[in-house]
Symmetry: C2
Subunit: 403 residues, 2 copies
């Protein structure tokens, strides 16, 4: 979109939310480190100066590829949805976590992907400590102090690490009856190691960092049931254990947002198991040269790229160049590396030939995330919050806001 | 509460919310200048170091003055409510705005007093501009761009001024179809002047500042009806006008929160029309020397003090001294003055013999509000937001978050 600022085109950005969420930091909202507006920028503010962009606050619900029109749901003024004509359509509706067919688990284990999800999780985590404070039955109290994070990708690892730090460093002096140091944080992962996208050596370092922080990584374990009061996991040998836990957070699996299905059906193109729409090497839909799709909702031919921000950003810039007529080659992903933080001063990084862990990786993580956060104001506010947290072990944004 | 930190007592703070809201800045959340967590401090963080304070996240719902017990509603762990024994009870449950018997207006004109209220109003204001952007009918678009603020006390004046600035300075370049400069902000006040607590001369200055900002103050007008699409006002001569407006904000009247009624009934003491509980000169309930009540939920004998933060703060410190045995005189309010801001560089101030307006009053307003905002971190974050807003005319926290 911003890549089109000097191209003589008119762009309409359709989004059902009025902000761009910097998703890699959503877990910090969920754990009370950051405030929602510090990681979300109003779309209109982002495109204030780009006069060829209009923003429409609406949800895309249908597409007619033959008529070259996009159908959107109800408009902000309450009017029924309308139809937008396009010359070129670019679809980037992203993905959600997948509950592996157990949609009923969503109620007990919200996903950490959207801002409402992060605020919901924040309220649940904080309420669990409040509940532990008033609970007198030791077994019940232990269940309130048990947190299960499902999925040990970067989001799961970061969330588990932050909850452990919250319980160990930020909260102990806040409570009088509950001993938050008794908190158990379990990180459940089906694969045999955490951070599967990293080298086994860095995975192993992350595993030990998690343990040092007080997180119990349950690798080789699969979630088989989630209720309001427990999470049941099955180990590789098939044994099932029911863990009493009042708080579960979901960060596993991946499936595309619903519009991917709409698009694939309209175009008659294939999707994979995760619902990814197949696109051509230039990110166009086969048979529809005026339609591009990108990000973690697509696979390029048979190739699935990592579902991370750098892929989507490079693809966005690529499509902007194609539209402007400045690009004839197929899309080629330049892997800049992988970063994940585990907690205060702990991170792992793979950048080109460099493998780093501990403090240097953590500083790199901080820098990269600050650079990519949109808006100078947000960068400064987040930096300030981080400095405070680092200095005081505190968490400034610990509000239970109403659902 | 903090006045009791060196007194050998055990304090239980019962609150249904886990944060202390700095209410004087709630309107800045409603208008997108500040983020919720910047004006709300987690109670547990506030009392972290004060070991004689326990925080209980629950709602007070009943009291048995003979048995010296307080009844609270459901607990965070889901248990049914319980009963707390007390030696001394201090009640400070505050007030709400009153809809003058028209509770149905609340749906269309939310009150600006709580954090959920402020977030709701923020979403409504931002959605109204989004609606104006897609609306093609000129009359309907005008109704989306018309905002009615009811009540010209400090909150009403500040809110009206901020909406006008938002429309005039922050938003014009954000929209492509709607001309936000066409926004009308009406400030309806039954009395014959704005900011009735100030001297007539400062009222008049505030009136003209509002006009300069683009606000239309309708003094001597009373709201007689509010619907989803209009606000009807009646002037002193009795003529009724129906103003097409899609957004209304309520900041008028005053009534105590429901626990004041519970307490007055239990004690058999009188309340006034606004529901204020009558207390004795030492803020005790007549016949119940172990029960204090304070803040804008009480009147001291027949005397109603202004419903502002300094009164409640002085009363809180007074009660702490009485409990500690360090105070024998009746409560005496020291009026430190009145402050209200109208917009960027515009405010009015009455401090002792000083009457100020314009830039000096505004700087004073900024300083006082920063000093009283709880928490060093929040002060810096708010200062930073304000510097940005001042420099760029922008508003950083413009998220429409889900209800």
């Amino acid at each position: 979109m911003r890549g089109l600022r000097r191209t003589p085109v008119e762009v309409t950005l359709v989004d059902r939310q009025n902000y761009h969420l910097f998703q890699p930091l959503a877990y910090q909202v969920a754990t009370g480190s950051l405030s929602a507006s510090e990681i979300a920028s109003p779309l209109r503010a982002v495109f204030k100066r780009q006069k060829n962009v209009r923003v429409l606050l609406a949800e895309a619900i249908g597409v007619d590829l033959a008529a070259h029109t996009l159908e959107v749901g109800s408009l902000p003024n309450g009017d029924e949805g309308s139809t937008l004509a396009y010359d070129t359509l670019v679809v980037a509706t992203g993905s959600r976590y997948s509950y592996f067919g157990h949609e009923d688990w969503r109620t007990h284990a919200p996903e950490l992907k959207s801002l409402p999800g992060a605020l919901d999780i924040r309220a649940r985590i904080l309420r669990a400590f409040e509940a532990a404070e008033v609970e007198t039955d030791p077994a019940k109290r232990a269940a309130w102090l048990t947190f299960v994070v499902v999925g040990a990708g970067p989001t799961g690892v970061e969330t588990a690490g932050q909850i452990a730090e919250l319980a160990r460093d930020a909260l102990p002096r806040d409570f009088r009856s509950a001993d938050t140091q008794q908190t158990r944080v379990l990180l459940v992962e089906t694969a045999d190691r955490v951070l599967g996208a990293f080298t086994p050596k860095l995975s192993s370092k992350a595993f030990h960092s998690l343990q040092t922080l007080g997180v119990t990584p349950l690798v080789g374990h699969t979630v088989v049931d989630i209720t309001a009061a427990s999470v049941s996991v099955q180990n590789a040998a098939g044994a099932v254990e029911e863990i009493p836990a009042r708080t579960a957070i979901w960060a596993a699996g991946v499936t595309t947002a619903s519009f991917a299905r709409v698009l694939a059906d309209a175009a008659g193109v294939e999707t994979d198991r995760a619902g990814r729409v197949t696109v051509q090497p230039d990110l166009r839909l086969a048979g529809h040269p005026d339609v591009f799709a990108l990000g973690d909702m697509v696979r390029v031919g048979e190739k699935v790229l990592p579902g991370v921000a750098p892929v989507a950003m490079q693809q966005g810039r690529y499509v902007a160049r194609v539209i402007a007529g400045n690009e004839a080659r197929p899309f080629n992903y330049k892997d800049k590396g992988n970063l994940a933080t585990i907690g205060r001063s702990r991170a792992v990084a793979e950048v080109g030939p460099i493998r780093a862990s501990g403090f240097p990786a953590w500083v790199l993580w901080l820098g990269v995330h600050l650079v990519y956060l949109i808006g100078f104001q947000n960068r400064l506010l987040v930096l300030l919050r981080w400095l405070f947290s680092f200095a005081t072990h505190g968490r400034g944004a610990r509000l239970i806001t109403p659902r």
